[in-house]
Symmetry: C2
Subunit: 412 residues, 2 copies
């Protein structure tokens, strides 16, 4: 099965909005075993939309259309769909009930414009919108499926995941596909590739590996396809077990997991608490931890000791060590971690101190030089790293590495 | 002038990469007065790229192509360009010098694959790539300009900004256009629209206003077009002066400014220092401030007092006030701000305490209830806000509001 994605909206062409819908849909289709031929963004214009539908119908047997719907935009897109599919707009009582319900929840009045949103082409199957007023519309023409959806991501996504893909799997006899993404931290992509080369070469022919790098994280997505879903699940799980024997130390989670969530869940499960003392990360680790709802269960707080005098005054780092070794040094980072653990009365603590850049580097401690310490009830572990030259990425990599060092201590 | 954007790369279709190039190019073209007809993403495939070039040439008189270039990808795209434009690949000594220079800086050896990158079609104008090994290529065919560029954003962007747009302005006699974006904080878009309605209606016909909202910030972009650039600049500046008389209190900067930069520059200029005491923002304000290089000139540090006992133990907030009024209250926020200013010995301090959500709300203090305080050498200002229900956005809005409250105190 081959698909084309059409995104409607002037705001996409003038660059006011980045087209994240097309990439999200592309990913969902790919994961369902449907190849994407192309993705096109077009203007809110009758002839242009009509031409895009015509062209897509020649390339693909599935055309997913987003945008151009909604109370102020409906006219052009719906009229174009009617012209293209030879339909009449008819008032749909069930759609109107949904629209009224949305307004009831929001405590607002239904306007005449909203009533018109309940008018849908008479030859489409309506896909209900649980989060907004514009319905999805499923058409078939000359063996090609066309589905029109609203452009608002949280209205469109459930239509794709809960309706369109399940329907295609059922009706079109698509292969069973299973994906699982292994999340690793601490090894760059090129080194990872070398470490797992033999494993990768021994993968069964129906299993594909994709590298999905992000700053500080390498994601490995395994995809198996075949007849029975259960078989694909066990093939993938089996390969991940083999992979864990090689790079288990670097794997921190799977699929949509984040390090801050994983660490948070571990701490909550074990009834342990954590605090932070941050210099070069400047509060970013605290921010990651507290971005998780419920983090107050295990997170007590942080001292962001940006200035050296604060490292001494609040975290009791010895002035003679600050003078002799500098703020980016083993003796200082150990004192910072220990002080945070004491002050906040937590089981664990994290401390960071580094040259984030772009200025402040020296021959001895170039930009990217970073010390991270984790204090546990038994010991303080301190490790020096050399990250890159980009300030934002150094902060992010330091935070991820620190959370992963903590994870390894909490998990044991 | 009408443009089409072609983005080449399988990674765009399978959703591995979001196509930010197309929106960025769309914005640049729009700002130069060139309308964008459509944007299409296609696969790394000869026939598909050929068809896209053919189709685009019928729609537009400018076709900007990104991607499909680079040492491992070159073959298909360059061969397709040769077939489409009837060219031969020839070795270009100047391009090879650039490639060698890139490798010299990176301390790596030039491979045979890289030598091939210096082969370019004989009927194009080469656009030098200062940041990578794949050159840009400018072709003209039947009155249509086609430009092929690498897909790596930091290689592509300088080609558009420094070469393509200046060349088009010169050769194609485009109108002179001037943009300036006014950044405001503290008023939602709908209220802003009502406040400036009369001003907006009185704008001269060659001046356009666009609303560009972001969480917590409303951006107003003014665009004037005409014959002479100098005239457009003065028309826009004049309108911004008029606008400032109405909403001056909410304007914190222009164009690409950020609040953390503006506040940082003000503090540095005045030789003043700042510290923070964060509860609901959990270190996010510290992170924003320290994301700016050189922030150690004015930023001393933060106490992230996430747990109530920490508010008492480290920030000396009175336990009886925590018990009587709760952590999200005026007496507590005032004590937090005052304590941070004392502890860190700074001129100013910021404190935050709120119910970020999604849990933790009560009838009296629903999710989104937030106190912010700013302490100055003379006084402590505390204000209560009601933000929304979304945790991430509450944290962001609180941080921006706090920085803006600080800005107003520092600027005076």
């Amino acid at each position: 099965m081959k698909a084309e994605i059409i995104s409607i909206g002037d705001e996409l062409l003038i660059g006011q909005v980045v087209n994240t819908n097309a990439s999200w849909i592309g990913e969902q289709l790919t994961m369902a075993g449907i190849s994407v031929y192309q993705a096109v963004s077009v203007a809110d214009n009758h002839d242009h939309i009509f031409e895009a539908l015509e062209t897509a119908g020649k390339h693909a047997d599935l055309v997913l259309i987003t945008g151009g719907l909604g109370p102020t935009k409906d006219d052009i897109t719906k009229q174009t769909l009617c012209d293209f599919f030879g339909s009449e707009l008819v008032f749909n009582e069930l759609v109107f009930e949904d629209v009224k319900e949305i307004f009831r929840v929001r405590g607002r009045q239904v306007s005449e414009l909203n009533r018109k949103q309940a008018e849908v082409p008479d030859n489409c199957t309506v896909i209900r919108n649980e989060h907004g007023t514009a319905s999805g519309m499923w058409f078939e023409k000359d063996g090609v499926i066309f589905v029109s959806m609203p452009g608002v991501p949280f209205e469109m996504k459930p239509m794709v995941s809960n309706y369109i893909i399940p329907n295609l799997i059922e009706k079109r006899n698509l292969p069973a596909i299973f994906h699982k993404t292994v999340l690793t931290q601490g090894v760059p992509e090129s080194e990872m590739a070398a470490m797992i080369e033999n494993w990768e070469n021994s993968l069964p022919p129906n299993v594909k590996l994709a590298y999905l790098p992000q700053p500080g994280i390498v994601r490995l997505r395994l995809t198996a396809s075949g007849k029975e879903r259960a078989d694909q699940v066990s093939i993938v799980e089996n390969e991940i077990t083999r992979l864990s024997e090689i790079i288990g130390d670097y794997i921190f989670g799977f699929d949509k997991d984040t390090l801050e969530e994983i660490v948070g869940n571990l701490l909550r499960k074990k009834g342990k608490t954590i605090s932070t003392a941050e210099s070069c990360t400047g509060g970013y680790i605290a921010h990651l931890i507290t971005s998780i709802s419920g983090s107050s269960d295990y997170y007590k707080g942080s001292v962001v000791a940006y200035a050296n005098e604060i490292k001494n005054k609040i975290l009791n780092v010895k002035n003679k060590d600050l003078e002799k070794f500098g703020a980016v040094s083993e003796p200082v980072i150990i004192q910072m971690a220990a002080a945070a653990r004491d002050m906040f009365g937590t089981d664990f603590s994290i401390a960071t101190s580094g040259v984030a850049g772009p200025t402040g580097g020296t021959d001895e401690k170039p930009v990217g030089t970073t010390w991270i310490a984790v204090a546990t009830p038994e010991k303080v572990i301190a490790i020096q790293f050399h990250f890159g030259e980009h300030r934002g990425r150094n902060i992010r990599r330091t935070a991820l590495m620190a959370l992963d060092m903590l994870r390894k201590e909490v998990v044991n």
